[in-house]
Amino acid sequence: MTTMTSATTPEPAALLDVRDLSVVFHGSHGDVEAVSEVSFSVRPGEHVALVGESGSGKSVTSLAVMGLLPTRSAKVEGSIRYDGDDLLAMTDHERRDLRGAEMAMIFQDPMTSLNPVVPIGVQIGEVLQRHKAMTGRQARNESGDLLARVGIADGSRRLGEYPHQLSGGMRQRVLIAIALACEPRLLIADEPTTALDVTIQAQILELLRELVSGTGTALVMITHDLGVVAGLCDQVHVMYAGRVVESAPRRPLFARPRHPYTGGLLRSIPRLDAPRGEPLTPIPGSPNDALSWAAGCAFAPRCGNRIDRCTSQTPELAAQHAYEPGYEQALRCFNPIGEETS
């Protein structure tokens, strides 16, 4: 957990500070705004979740932070500050120096995220050679240790193996080893367990928690699964159709969700302590039904709390009274849960 701030001193400098981020893709069918008005910050050691369904812009946000969006087709605007430096003002070279060393990412699908024709030892070692100026032999030794640390027994002997010789869970462990090889201060995990079997999911999450806690590594967890959030994250940002709709610390978010979309996400998680026979409540419709934010709230068509204003006026993200100091709390809704107007 992070250091608490006293009332007089400003909160500690954020490691990552994203302000008014917007990402527009130019395609043959015109421009598509994938992300807009996204702001959040991550302090050293903090665990932040970006939550939303597919298409909510959470992955695009993380790719923008990493600088992995295609430069030809994606226009990134706003500011992304890392350790005080504006990433968007950096040269490609400067950003490459940060990637893999200072900030690293774990991807969703371990089956396709490893190069099939390169031994895993090389795939781990190359990041060490790139950023830590290690020789091949040093990188090899270190890679073996890393594999052991992510729970692959006999790590140093498996360096010559190829991805197809490993199971999905093993491959995700390799990807985690790659991401953590240079002890990054910021780790972004994009749905790291979605593609895995349920039993493996828990193991991988547990591994991630072990590896990032106590090292001061800040974690940005991208997920659609609030269950993942509950066990791992301090601060949550819920995204819908490219914008943040609710920001809150974990506890108030789970206890008192304000945005109807957050409420919907929570109600669709199966709970063991729910009364027997109570049906799960899915959110009606699908993210494809999202309208643009231009003419009202994009969630309005699927929203049970919809009032007239929702379809005529675009709600702004408004800061809320913070229940816990040091956390961000904000809401983008005209008719939040608990204070319905009609």
């Binding site: 990493m66 992995l68 950003r95 490459r96 120096d97 940060l98 990637r99 893999g100 060393a101 690293a104 990412m105 991807f107 699908d109 396709t112 995220s113 490893l114 190069n115 099939p116 024709v117 390169v118 090389v122 795939q123 190359e126 990041v127 790139r130 950023h131 190829y162 197809h164 010789q165 990807l175 790659i178 991401a179």
Partner: protein
């Protein structure tokens, strides 16, 4: 890896066996008396008797086939009807010339094709891409011999940049050890001779290499575009690797797999294309000899050369398969 190679090699046996049967039937399917048709208008009673003895046409078919097979495994394909020389001899003599030509053609195609295809994939939908695609389309549809004639007219006759024909200037008294003229020139340190041989190779190699070039460009473009969208390329980029490392180790190594297969398949195109190009440039390889053999229905040569070419083609593709296994670990285990 060894088992993989042996298994592939074993698969070659039935193919060659079947091919021998096919060619056996083919010779007998020639219209009229096979001996007479083998000799064509030049048939003399003496010639016909020779052919009959050579192919054993008087014996039962099965016996004939065994005799024929016996000849094949000892690489005895009979002799040319035109010059009476053993087919195997002329083939071995001319083969280096065609290999040299095919080598330069494929080098031309690969050295130009892979970077062009890569650039097109990188800038998909932009002007470069359009130009490369258009160029490659034109490359595939021009008849090889038309292109050869065109190149000869423009660059040899009108601009006089390159010689019009042959493998080496007749005035150069070069020593030939291997019959690969360029290699010979290098081995004997007669660099003038080597350079002259290279100059003679340029136009035929370009004519022969154009279709493979066009095909390699297209396959490279398709394959690289696909690989560029792969998750593992993004993983590599997330490591902050230098773009060159990403390109070499992560993009090209994967993208080259289908390209490698294509190059192997091009060998067949090169060997048959040589029949069309070599004759235009009076280049003394198997192609121009085969061209004359076709024109004069020199069936022993036709049969022997086709069998040789099929054998080489199969072996090259076998080598490509093995090379594929070396690059792609997934093939090795399967």
């Amino acid at each position: 890896m060894l088992r993989f190679t042996l298994r592939r090699l074993a698969l070659l046996v039935p193919v060659l066996f079947g091919l021998s049967i096919l060619l056996f039937v083919w010779i007998r399917a020639l219209p009229g008396d096979p001996a007479r048709s083998l000799l064509g208008e030049r048939a003399t009673p003496e010639g016909i008797r020779q052919i009959r003895a050579l192919y054993g046409f008087d014996k039962p078919l099965v016996e004939q086939y065994w005799a024929y097979l016996g000849q094949l495994v000892t690489f005895d394909f009979g002799s040319s009807i035109r010059d009476g020389r053993p087919v195997t001899d002329t083939f071995l003599e001319q083969f280096p010339a065609t290999v040299e030509l095919a080598f330069f053609a494929i080098v031309f195609a690969v050295v130009l094709g892979i970077p062009l295809g890569y650039a097109a994939a990188r800038r998909r939908g932009e002007l470069v891409d359009g130009a490369v695609i258009t160029g490659s389309l034109i490359g595939v549809v021009i008849p090889v011999f038309f292109l050869a004639i065109l190149l000869k007219l423009v660059f040899a006759i009108q601009l006089d940049w390159f010689p019009t024909s042959s493998r080496q200037d007749a005035r150069i008294d070069a020593t030939h050890i291997t019959n690969f003229y360029v290699l010979d020139g290098l081995l004997t340190r007669e660099f003038d001779a080597a350079w002259d041989a290279i100059v003679h190779l340029v136009l035929p190699a370009v004519a022969l290499g154009t279709i493979p070039l066009a095909i390699i460009v297209r396959i490279t473009r398709a394959s690289v575009s696909e690989v560029l969208n792969e998750d593992y390329v993004r993983t590599a980029e997330a490591k902050g690797l230098h773009p060159q490392v990403v390109r070499r180790r992560h993009v090209l190594r994967n993208a080259m797999l289908p390209v490698l297969t294509t190059i192997g398949l091009q060998v067949g195109l090169l060997l048959s294309g040589a029949v069309l190009t070599e004759s235009v440039f009076a280049f003394n390889g198997i192609g121009s000899y085969l061209f004359d053999a076709i024109a004069q229905r020199d069936y022993p040569v036709l049969q022997g050369y086709i069998l040789f070419i099929a054998l080489i083609y199969s072996l090259v593709n076998l080598a490509v398969d093995i090379g594929y296994g070396l690059i792609d670990p997934r093939v090795r285990v399967s």
